[in-house]
């Protein structure tokens, strides 16, 4: 008995001391009482096993609490909660550009608010924080990685991760793996190279640095005509990737090449822009890459979440990766080696000459931007964008907010093409949820949202949560797309919903405008 007690004390003592912290091993199998990373877990599925709220009772879902942010300063379109909150030990952490908040996940009470000083970086959006131990990590518009004390929001340090003077700007929620903080960068207006870095969680110093464009002599370097083009080739890394702990690979979607709309000075495939890449998380070395848009000229970065799942494909169980890419095509790969398995359009597109032997769409040169314009589907906004997709493993369905859009692409550069070197004139902006069967790429159902703009969440309660563009939050049957519940909030949902269970109560939390809205079943309130 004494031995047992002693053992119990020994076992629980460190746990008690660290109860509020987030140890790295927790991220390998997060509990349903938490949502500890941008995508909830490393797979990127945004699918929760929670089912207290389910298709049979969601009609009685009602408001649990609301939190309205204030004193956030920044003007313009950045002042919207585009971040996916993380939730750790009953506290939500979320952002807007230049701002981080900690809020009680049970009732929406503000715990602390951190403000970063005004700065010249692009303030288009901020997608969230990462947490490790007792520290919060976030990227600022002017590209510092900031570490905050999770207890009180006090700044520990800030370290530059990109040069704002070159028009980089940073929006991404970092990814924590073990003792690595993975950071990505954005900004494609001045032909800068993209890269990923791993930073030390304690010091913020660089552990490894991986350039989107291969170095001379490396595989892929031959896909650029010369050093000048390669050194100014773009390929930003602005969306949080996913991670397979068994393979120790991180998966990242890479942005479009530069100059954006003019391909003449960068003939070739332009690797690894518009690609999905797998890097060893400890070394930052490329293990494999797959380019979804060779030689892109339409701004269709492939930064959409590469979702990981294990499943059957043509009779064989595999470790899979799927992406509904901005270029309008859905891809399934074997994530252990990058082997291509499936390519299927999920909207009507008009820019390809077909699919090549590797499963890549072949760009039609006549649909490149031209001085008098080319009519192209999708627009540069894309068939999909950063709005979080979701995967329901029991249904085998991949859900994406898709846009059957058209745009006229113009080339405008006089003389040497630099920067965007052109632009497109948007025509229409439709948006629907599409449920794609990963085995065939076929769309099982479509649900109109009026436009595109928010991320998706699915749960084991056979539910899918989404926001439309008329200020509604809605839940549909995840198998059929039929609406089972909706409510009106003060603005359109701008982030992806999350869910967690505390004290036996399941919450669903969404960000809309400058507010968080939490929902729970009336019976549990």
């Amino acid at each position: 008995m004494r031995v047992w007690t002693l053992a119990l004390v020994l076992l629980t003592a460190p746990v008690v001391l660290r109860a509020q912290e987030l140890p790295p091993e927790t991220l390998l199998k997060p509990g349903t009482d938490s949502w500890p990373t941008y995508n909830g877990d490393y797979s990127g599925q945004r699918h929760s096993p929670l089912h207290q709220i389910n298709a049979s009772n969601v009609a009685s879902l009602s408001s649990a609490w609301m939190y309205r942010a204030s004193n956030y300063g920044a003007a313009g379109f950045g002042s919207v909660i585009k971040s996916t909150p993380i939730e750790v030990n009953g506290v939500l952490y979320f952002t807007m550009p230049d701002n981080v908040w900690a809020v009680d996940a049970r009732n929406g009470r503000e715990v602390w608010h951190y403000k970063y000083p005004p700065n010249e970086g692009g303030h288009i959006g901020q997608r969230g924080v990462a947490m490790l131990g007792s520290w919060i990590y976030t990227e600022t518009p002017d590209c510092n990685l900031v570490s905050l004390n999770a207890k009180n929001g006090q700044e520990r340090w800030r370290k530059p991760i990109a040069d704002v003077k070159l028009e980089y700007f940073c929006t991404m929620a970092p990814l924590v793996v073990g003792n690595h903080i993975i950071t990505g960068v954005g900004g494609d207006s001045l032909d800068n190279p993209g890269y990923l870095e791993s930073r030390d969680p304690e010091t913020g110093e660089v552990q490894w640095h991986w350039n989107t464009e291969p170095n001379p002599g490396e595989p892929g370097s031959e896909s650029w005509p010369d050093a000048e083009a390669r050194n100014h080739g773009g390929g930003m890394t602005w969306m949080t990737g996913t991670y397979d702990p068994d393979l120790r690979l991180i998966y990242w979607g890479i942005g479009n090449p530069n100059p954006v709309h003019a391909g003449v000075g960068r003939k070739g495939d332009n690797l690894w822009t518009c690609s999905i890449v797998a890097l060893n998380v400890d070394t930052g070395k490329l293990v494999w890459g797959y380019q979804v848009s060779p030689h892109d000229t339409h701004d269709w970065d492939a930064t959409q979440t590469p979702i990981l799942f294990d499943g059957e494909f043509q009779g064989k169980r595999r470790k899979l990766l799927a992406q509904a890419s901005r270029n309008g095509f859905f891809f399934v790969l074997d994530r252990s080696n990058g082997e291509h398995l499936l390519t299927a359009p999920f909207i009507h597109t008009n820019w390809t000459l077909g699919i090549n032997a590797k499963g890549q769409p072949i760009p039609n040169p006549n649909k490149e931007p031209a001085r008098d314009g080319t009519l192209v589907s999708p627009s540069s906004n894309g068939a999909s964008n950063w709005f979080a997709p979701s995967f329901n493993p029991s249904a085998g369905l991949f859900y994406v907010v898709a846009s059957e859009s058209y745009s006229v692409f113009y080339l405008t550069a006089e003389g040497k093409a630099e920067g965007f070197a052109g632009r497109d004139d948007f025509l229409n902006y439709p948006g629907t949820i599409k449920a794609i069967d990963y085995k065939t790429g076929e769309t099982r159902w479509t649900h109109d949202l009026g436009g595109m703009g928010s991320g998706l969440l699915t749960t084991a309660g056979n539910l899918l949560f989404a926001g439309d563009t008329s200020g509604h939050i809605l839940a549909t049957d995840s198998m059929t797309g039929k609406t089972l519940w909706h409510t009106t909030v003060s603005a359109n949902q701008a982030n992806g919903a999350i869910t967690y269970e505390l004290d036996g109560k399941q919450y669903v939390v969404v960000g809309a405008g400058d507010s968080l809205f939490a929902f729970a079943l009336a019976a549990t309130q």
């Binding site: 003077k165 314009g373 540069s380 630099e418």
Partner: protein
């Protein structure tokens, strides 16, 4: 039938286009009524490109200083760096990290005054601090010209064959079934710049950048709607809003009326539906020809 027509599109996807292509739903914060895509109370701005650049964190450029700088730069530096600073035998200075870090000559001043003799750049020791500061402003203005795509000028659009365009208008395009060159489209080429005319021809909706900046825009043609109530009563009017859950209109007497879609049948006559149907059918040549034809309607 779909609710896409009025789905908060107005400002929504302008931001789609902003910056690194990170589509963003900027309109979320101020859920303004999106019907007709107008935002009447937004401030008037002169230059869409400048305003958007400012919101994106772009630098403010002193245009007079930049022009003074250009006049010094072209004869002194243009032979090697190009009159537009894009580089010739000397390096490109538009996307140069050195120049982008410069403030009024504090970085490039040394290089200009001392030259880089080992690389073949002579010293320009006679230039004053003010002149170097002006050159710096000129170079920053060149970087801003490149990085601010909303100020890019679209031109040279009229490449099609007007006769073939007329044939398309009356033939495959079936434009003539709703429009007339001597009626609603008379003198249309005098009302719009070619890029605006092209967009409106393809899909008649206001330019979202104009809408966002609160410029006067011609609203799209009103959409007619008829609602059949459970009682059998039929109410007609001009569509005000439509989404998955409700429909709203101005009835023939001008009253606002809304209905839950659970209990009514909705019939929308969207004048843009034919345009939308054509989007998937146009060849680029047909688009160019049709525009060339509309350009003859002076």
């Amino acid at each position: 039938m779909s609710n896409r027509y009025f789905g908060a599109v107005a400002v929504l996807l302008l931001f789609a286009s902003l910056s690194s292509g990170q589509a963003d739903q900027a309109a979320n914060a101020n859920k303004q009524k999106p019907a007709n895509g107008q935002q009447k109370d937004a401030p008037q701005k002169e230059n869409a490109g400048d305003a958007l650049a400012a919101m994106m964190g772009g630098a403010h450029i002193d245009k007079e200083a930049a022009e003074r700088g250009r006049k010094i730069f072209v004869p002194a530096c243009g032979f090697c760096h190009g009159n537009d600073a894009h580089g010739k035998s000397g390096p490109d200075l538009v996307r140069s990290a050195l120049v982008l870090h410069d403030n009024k000559g504090d970085v490039i001043g040394l290089v200009i005054r001392n030259g880089r003799l080992e690389r073949g750049m002579p010293a320009f020791s006679a230039l004053s601090a003010e002149q170097i500061a002006d050159i710096s402003t000129f170079l920053h203005s060149r970087a801003a010209d490149v990085s601010n795509r909303f100020a890019y000028k679209i031109g040279d659009l009229i490449t099609g064959d007007a006769q073939k365009g007329a044939a398309f208008f009356h033939g495959d395009g079936q434009c003539g079934s709703c429009h007339s060159a001597t009626g609603d489209l008379a003198h249309v080429a005098t009302k719009y710049e070619p890029v605006e005319l092209q967009r409106r021809m393809l899909y008649p909706a206001p330019n979202l950048i104009d809408v966002f900046l609160g410029r006067a825009v011609k609203p799209p043609a009103p959409t007619k709607v008829a609602v059949q109530l459970a009682s059998g009563e039929r109410v007609s009017g001009t569509l005000d809003h439509l989404d998955e859950f409700s429909v709203a209109m101005r009835d023939s007497a001008g009253w606002y009326r809304s209905f839950s879609r659970e209990s009514v049948t909705v019939d929308v006559q969207d004048p843009r539906a034919a345009h939308e149907g054509l989007l998937a059918k146009y060849t680029d040549q047909e688009m160019h020809d049709a525009l060339a034809y509309l350009e003859t309607l002076k």
